[in-house]
Amino acid sequence: MGPAPSADRIESMKELDLAGTPLSTNVRQEARRASTRGRTIVVTSGKGGVGKTTTTANLGTGLADLGKQVAVVDADVGLRNLDVVLGLENRIRKHLLDVIERKGTIDEALVRDRLRQSLFLLPAAQNREKDEVPQAAMVALIQELQNRFDFVLIDCPAGIEHGFRNAVAGAAEAIIVTTPEVSAVRDADRIIGLLPSHLAPKLIVNRVRPGMVKEGTMMSVDDVNAILRLELIGVVPDEKDIIIATNRGTPVIDIEGSQTGAAFRRIVRRLLGEAIPIPPFHPKRNVVANFLSSLGIGRS
């Protein structure tokens, strides 16, 4: 169970309402905006399927576990998935476009996590298209969330088009997720070139298979970052835990003993400024043991 939001937070959530009066006219809220502004981080990659959504979900969960007020925003309008990864797909009432079009309030759209009181999801519209989201409205929405939460994590859609620009527009920081594959690194390089430089992107290398790296059949993290040259904030090993977690609709962080989950927890603490070294990953078992265990022989 995560920590409950402070009374001040709850109060601010009640009174701040995008559908109400324009915020810029409200002096009190302006004052609060200046004092409690949270961090807005876009999680992006260029290429699809490298783990943006999983990363967003797990970082959000991990931050909430450390007592932070967190909103995770699904900016992938038309192809939303953050709800499913967090297991919140059945609780969605309103979505991001409803809020932007004043068909609902932020509070109606925000879905509270099942386990963590301080983690909220702002779901994307599923039956709409990315072009329908005006950039100015998106920026205003993110600013709004920034006033109410310590962290706003934006799950960026794949691609470099409208959806990407929208997701990036409101963010002050960026996390680039890539995998040690030619296509993913290439797209990451492209994305880095497109990001406004003030976002100072940090790198997560996802789906690393230590065994393959050792064999020389996969690029190492150093190989990848020799090309991208970003601040490395995390290395996430590829494990089957992640599939199991997604099947269940729980973040992999909640799976006991998972190396992947532990890697995400470390990234969370690095995000908060702790200097935690990136540990070397060792293959759990060698190829032979894997082969034997797939036949049902040996330890599982």
Partner: protein, 218 residues
């Protein structure tokens, strides 16, 4: 059994290096195409050097990068109208330019006979630049505008004069050759495959690990 499995997995051992190499090439090409302004600057600077030695048809010039097998090439297709007189002490660039034109570094050695077929095709090129006899350069901004058509032949003369002037400064006796050079408006096209960019290339287009990133914020 263990040996067999190990062998099976060892077969792909080189694939990591293959991935790195392919990435290196594809990123060089990506980055250079994302920074057309840098490319344009480089082209202008290269032309400045070439113009010291050759009178070239700038409208028909093509320069582009190409991703070849295991090589990233800068391909230049520069129609040469004539070779300007060179100073006695030729630089490396001068030698290259001379060799590509007629196998001689000395402009006065060109005979008129061997140049007629290229000259014929060149005049066809010059007559219809707007129809696009040459593929447009791969990088934007270098295609000739319609306004260039009338002035271009005149434009080239001052350039030739400038080049000849600098050559004259080096050796006064060569000024005498200038009128002949300008009159002889032969054009020929020669492909210059210059792997300017390779692993040890200049930083702006060179090794991806060291080259500067194209400016962000688009």
């Amino acid at each position: 059994m263990i040996e067999f499995i190990t062998k099976f997995f060892r077969r792909e051992e080189a694939s990591k290096n293959l991935a790195k190499e392919r990435l290196r090439l594809v990123l060089m090409s990506d980055r250079v195409s994302l920074a057309p302004d840098i490319f344009e600057t480089m082209k202008v600077e290269m032309l400045d050097v070439i113009r010291r030695y050759l009178e070239v048809d700038e409208r028909a010039l093509e320069m582009r990068f190409e991703n070849a097998e295991r090589q990233f090439l800068l391909l230049a297709n520069i129609p040469v109208r004539s070779v300007l007189p060179l100073p006695r002490k030729t630089t490396g660039a001068g030698q290259t330019a001379g060799r590509n034109t007629n196998g001689r570094a000395n402009g006065s050695a060109i005979s008129s006979g061997d140049a007629s077929p290229p000259a014929a095709s060149a005049s066809a090129d010059a007559s219809a630049p707007a129809e696009g006899p040459h593929p447009l350069p791969a990088f934007g901004g270098s295609a000739p505008g319609p306004g260039d058509d009338l002035s271009s032949s005149k434009e080239l003369r001052p350039a030739a004069n400038d080049a000849a002037g600098s050559a004259a400064a080096a050796g006064p006796h060569q000024t005498a050759k200038l009128p002949a050079t300008v009159k002889r408006r032969r054009r020929r096209r020669k492909k210059v495959d210059a792997p300017v960019v390779d692993t040890a290339a200049p930083s702006a287009f060179g090794d991806v690990a060291e080259g500067p990133r194209p400016p962000g914020g688009s």
